[in-house]
């Protein structure tokens, strides 16, 4: 009976705790203002820009309109770059996961008994951030350049033909994306593996699951929240990235991604409606892909 009484009292208490208090609203205010000012207003202006049409009088000026055909035009013109962007981003996410997970596992579980080494390894994962990623990407361009050591080495081994190049290829772009996003993948996975209770792993072994089976049925599901955040943190910025794939860095016109065409339309061609429409397409595509992903992976694991 006492339990029954307790249960009802907590059930009653819960809505009370959830009732909106004015202080909570007050605390939310700066965040809401920030969101309104720096997200909703630009988004709104982006939508307006994307529907503009060229000024019939002044060349290079645009006037407000409702030209939804802009979207059809950019999709027709730039669908290869759009598809490529998501393809490259997906590949980079996969490779970053394949490299980041074992790394996170090593730091979070294998090194658990040596906290000092663990801290050192974490610093090493974060260390690349101390140097601008532009510089690091340029450095890779140098390493991959036609006169660079890597191409020379591969040509000497006759793996690459004499006239081959790495820079400007899809490989170089995906490599650059993977390289740049590995820490974003590793850190969230590390966080969830670091607090993984190894007693669950022991229980798996006790219940006849081989180490492999225990890994796939216990360790991996318990690390899912970290994998989820890691893949999102990699995939979303990678899909919109315009540095790695640009001609100044690791890419060429053949590897241009949606980020590169948005950049070109805004800054070079000054076709603002096209750039705005592409930005919104990118945003919508990411939203759809990510929500499908989150839904499939089960939202409760994110908590």
């Amino acid at each position: 009976m006492a339990f029954g009484a307790f249960a009802t009292s907590t059930a009653v208490a819960e809505p009370a705790a959830r009732r909106k208090s004015p202080i909570a609203l007050l605390l939310l205010l700066p965040g809401l203002l920030y969101l309104g000012l720096f997200f909703l207003v630009p988004l709104f202006s982006l939508v307006i820009t994307s529907l503009q049409q060229p000024d019939p009088v002044v060349f290079g000026q645009f006037e407000n309109a409702f030209r939804w055909e802009n979207y059809v035009t950019v999709l027709q013109q730039y669908w290869p770059q759009t598809v490529r962007a998501f393809g490259y981003a997906a590949l980079a996410t996969l490779f970053a996961l394949l490299i980041g997970f074992p790394l996170a596992y090593f730091i979070g579980i294998t090194l658990r008994r040596w906290p000092l080494l663990q801290a050192l390894a974490l610093v090493l994962v974060i260390a690349p951030f101390f140097i601008s990623f532009l510089l690091r990407t340029i450095a890779w361009k140098q390493l991959f350049s036609d006169e660079g050591p890597i191409v020379g080495f591969l040509q000497a081994l006759a793996i690459l033909p004499g006239d081959a190049a790495i820079t400007g290829s899809a490989f170089a772009v995906v490599f650059g994306l993977t390289y740049n996003f590995i820490p974003f993948m590793t850190l969230p996975i590390y966080t969830s593996l670091e607090r993984l209770d190894l007693r669950y792993v022991e229980a798996g072994g006790d219940l006849y699951a081989s180490p492999r089976s225990t890994f796939f049925r216990v360790t991996l599901p318990l690390a899912a929240p970290g994998i989820m955040s890691g893949t999102l943190l990699t995939f979303i910025p990678a899909a919109g990235d315009y540095v790695n794939a640009s001609r100044e860095f690791l890419g060429s016109t053949d590897t241009a991604m949606i980020g590169n065409v948005i950049e070109a339309n805004f800054l070079v061609l000054q076709n603002f409606p096209a750039a705005a429409a592409l930005s919104l397409v990118l945003m919508a595509a990411i939203l759809i892909l990510v929500s499908a992903y989150v839904k499939r992976s089960g939202t409760e694991d994110l908590l």
Binding site: A203, D206, P211, R217, L222
Partner: protein
Amino acid sequence: MSTSAVPQSGFAEAGADLELVGITKRFPGFTAIEDLDLRIPAGSFFALLGPSGCGKTTTLRLIAGLEEPTAGRILIGGKDVTATKAFQRPVNTVFQSYALFPHMTILENVAFGLKRRKMANADALAHEALRLVELDHVSSRKPSQLSGGQQQRVALARAIVNRPALLLLDEPLGALDLKLRRQMQIELKDIQDTVGLTFLHVTHDQEEAMTMADTVAVMNKGVIEQMGAPQELYELPHTAFVATFLGQSNLMSGAVVSSSGTSMVVDVAGNRVEVPRERAQRHSGELTIGVRPEKVTLHGSEPKRETGRNLVGPGRITDVSFSGVSTQYEVTSPVFGIFTVFAQNTSISRMHHDGDEVWMSWDVGHTFGLADEPSTVPALRFDDDTDTSMIATQRREQLEAELEGA
């Protein structure tokens, strides 16, 4: 590992022997288990009893394969499994910390072991095991949505559903209320009896150990102090630790003053106390002897000495607590310290009162002699001329020491 000890499918048909040979486990800077030898015959219910931190869980982990022994060998069913991994041993554990998989439902948890062994009707068997612990109605919940006692029962179901040849239970009933605990004890005993599995049961509850087990082992500081049938252990403890850990004991010490072929007489501060030779672990010098409180009879006046009965006294009753079926008296004397006496409340027995002067007697055959040096038994360190206040202090110190040790 081509020859795994785990049957690929089906349940164990019978329990397996367990044998530990010279097992030692050292953690960095700490020896948890010291040269442990243990043999548990197939199909027996073995209880491991001991104070917190004495190495019970460590022993189970070694047997389950979750910890590697520093030295020694482990044999299950005659097979040396020392080098095999946990998942290859025909052993299941009910973990002290439950260790239920938080991302799986209760049903998935319970069916986990069966599915790993590719049992056909895993879900049906899991439901059956859940019904056994009365939790089938929560089978689709996650562990975090259960109470502690419910989680413990799920942990129990998850292990016994596999019907392993050897089941290790690490305080599997600790979080349950008395009624449920009794019920689970009966269920466990039932399963063990019908299938003939070998159970190694760790518990803090000595009553549980005594009522359920065929053999009880009392462990202290990484060594097994004594092992045997519950009654044997209770009636004839070999060490002061066992005498006081398993039930209560009145301990006394003194020098052997005379000795015949069958018995010895010990001088306890002027009282001559006789102990049968075969009930004593040592036979000369200073001796610690004891008697269980319920074996002692109180006398309001000095009775006549009889052969075959030990008599000590006088002492003064310092505490009386009535508990229905029996009354517990505490008798204090500057000579032999504190004596605890349990008296059945039968109609003819007369009540004694606080402050009464009493004598105590018991059958010589109930006296036991311990293996400990008297100087190492904390309860016995007092002199002949100690006054009551000092005894009170000693008693408090002794209690504190016990609490610290616990």
